[in-house]
């Protein structure tokens, strides 16, 4: 087991990071009207037979949205789950289009930053062994 997998999650640090960007991120999250019109702008959504888990809004709500809802009180399995969403299901190509103008890539980027701060990120040596890739 690598040190990355055993390192404890510092929830206080996650909470500090969430708080720092709260004004922007909470606004963007709260103005998403869950219309799903962003779906077709994601090539992964189109390539995966229109599977809803690849919708930009779904990815944001399931990653950053849940981090805010849980107020940063998360464990490693949860961050590992988010890792799959923000790295496997999103390549940050910035082509997602929100009719309201919500900056979806910045939210995915922030979710990645939080995961990385806790040592949760994809590694080159896990590409064949880990099921999430």
């Amino acid at each position: 087991m690598s040190t990355q997998e055993t390192k404890p999650i510092r929830t206080d640090e996650i909470r500090r990071m969430l708080k720092k960007k709260r004004a922007k991120m909470k606004r963007l999250l709260s103005h998403c009207v869950h219309c799903s019109l962003c779906a077709e702008s994601c090539f992964l959504y189109m390539a995966h037979d229109k599977d809803p888990q690849y919708m930009p809004s779904y990815k944001v709500l399931q990653s950053l949205g849940k981090l805010y809802r849980k107020r940063g009180k998360v464990d490693r399995p949860f961050l590992e789950h988010i890792k799959g969403i923000v790295w496997r299901n999103c390549v940050l190509c910035r082509r997602c289009y929100c009719p309201i103008g919500i900056d979806i890539p910045s939210m995915i980027t922030f979710a990645r930053t939080i995961c990385r701060s806790q040592g949760v990120y994809p590694r080159v040596d896990e590409s064949v062994s880990e099921s999430w890739l």
């Binding site: 709260s30 009719p99 103008g101 900056d103």
Partner: protein, 223 residues
């Protein structure tokens, strides 16, 4: 109770609506003080010199939206959304009944639509609301991101129109229906600045002021 709801409560809810929106706007501009020109929106057709009248340019810009926005991918849904939002905004503003009340209260009023036209707009709004509800329940991609909050927001938005139609056609007991209509309108006023309905204001802020590839204007503000 009825006197309070149709008297002071109207002013209170309207004040909360205005002050709430001003507060949100102030917060937005305070948060996006940093300016940077990263995305430069080139003219849609750079070969043609911009010698046209401003009105013609605005019309061309507006028509170009259907090629570079969600209009192209979802024309029906975008059309329904536009009808819903336009009728949501203009129907209460130019409704004869509201203008008579405004005239009695403040001695001023807006121009009014014919009553049958307002009724048609209200029905259009209710139909669009029903389509949104249908999508939330039956379309999988919408259902997976729908929460109870979305249904509540939809109810807050549609309730004034539903009760307004009942009141106009005098269906059910009029006094109760008109009471519910006033309450529904006030709830919508109060909720707008602090809920998802805030996109009424932030749609324009995000699309015109924030620097983005998809910005409609030459936005330079950064978060």
């Amino acid at each position: 109770m009825y006197e309070f709801i149709r008297g002071p409560m109207v002013s209170i809810s309207f004040m909360i609506f205005i002050i709430g929106l001003l507060y949100q706007a102030f917060k937005f501009f305070a948060l996006t003080r940093k300016k940077e020109l990263i995305f430069i929106n080139l003219p849609f057709n750079p070969d043609k010199p911009p010698r046209k009248q401003w009105f013609q340019r605005v019309v061309e810009w507006f028509l170009s939206l259907r090629k570079r926005t969600v209009w192209r991918v979802h024309p029906v849904m975008t059309g329904i959304t536009c009808i819903f939002h336009i009728s949501l905004f203009i129907t209460p503003l130019f409704l004869l009944g509201h203008n008579i009340l405004l005239d009695e209260a403040w001695g001023m009023h807006f121009w009014s639509f014919p009553e049958s036209f307002s009724d048609g707009l209200t029905w259009a709004d209710l139909l669009c609301g029903a389509i949104f509800l249908f999508r939330r329940i039956f379309v999988r991609r919408v259902r997976v991101i729908t929460t109870l909050y979305d249904y509540i927001v939809l109810l807050i938005t549609v309730a004034p129109f539903l009760t307004g139609t009942f009141a106009y056609h005098q269906w059910f007991e009029y006094q109760t229906v008109i009471f519910l209509h006033i309450v529904a309108g006030e709830v919508m006023f109060i909720a707008t600045p602090f809920t998802k309905l805030g996109h009424m204001l932030f749609f324009f802020f995000y699309r015109f002021f924030i620097g983005s590839e998809y910005s409609f204007g030459r936005g330079t503000r950064m978060w």
